[in-house]
């Protein structure tokens, strides 16, 4: 069974702090990994994705994620959060030629002033 897990349901940080959101996956073979952001009342928006090559991928608005095959992880990081980063973040995975993305349960990030 292919799974994506996000261990933290809710993270609270202060503006200007760094944040790391954890994502672990269970997949056989090659894998696509991605992160999406959902602001309140909106649909999901793509942040970044990894398939091969440099394990650190850069996304929009200062986000980056690092793939680790040994840890089966794809954690998302941002060095300095802004209040507008308050949202729900979803990790997702699939295999090449696979049918559709499988999503984690999401991590809600609350940024305090």
């Amino acid at each position: 069974t292919q799974t994506v897990s996000q261990s933290d349901a809710h993270v609270t940080v202060f503006e200007g702090d760094s944040v790391e959101l954890r994502c672990n996956y269970s997949y056989g073979g090659s894998i696509y990994l991605s992160w999406y952001i959902q602001h309140h009342g909106r649909g999901l928006q793509f942040l970044l994705k990894y398939y091969s090559g440099n394990p650190v991928v850069q996304g929009v608005n200062g986000f980056e994620a690092e793939f680790s095959k040994s840890d089966s992880s794809f954690h998302l990081r941002k060095a300095s959060v802004h209040w507008s980063d308050s949202a729900v973040y979803f990790c997702a995975a699939s295999s090449p030629g696979g049918r559709a993305l499988i999503f984690g349960t999401g991590t809600t990030v609350s940024v305090s002033p």
Binding site: Y32, L44, F46, F90, S94, G97, L101, T105
Partner: protein, 113 residues
């Protein structure tokens, strides 16, 4: 850029009622998806379609029908609404299933009385 439009934004139904949700995209994407979002459970795939008139079942297809009569539109029918059901239904599209960059609509929020 393109846009995904979901109608209606809010849907209130009665127990046992048949309800239809609509989705239109102007990206000219081949693949379209319907996901259900419940609080704390992430996104679960209901149906997807890789081309016009194609339908593929997801993990949550029981209780739903879907229709892809045109490349640009993908509708979802709740065949018999369940009492007290509350969920957000998200439509998405992508160039193909291997691309893994999904573009989402804002969602339809369903409440069943």
């Amino acid at each position: 850029g393109g846009i995904i439009t979901q109608t209606p934004k809010f849907l209130i139904g009665q127990e046992g009622q048949k309800l239809t949700l609509k989705c239109q995209q102007n990206f000219n994407h081949d693949t379209m998806y319907w996901y259900r979002q419940d609080s704390g459970k992430g996104l679960r795939l209901i149906y997807y379609s890789i081309t016009e008139n194609d339908l593929q079942k997801g993990d949550l297809s029981e209780g739903y029908d879907a229709s892809r009569e045109k490349k640009s539109s993908f509708s979802l029918t709740v065949t018999s609404a369940q009492k007290n059901e509350m969920a957000v239904f998200l439509c998405a599209s992508s160039h193909d299933t291997s691309q893994n960059t999904l573009y989402f609509g804002a969602g339809t929020r369903l409440s069943v009385l």
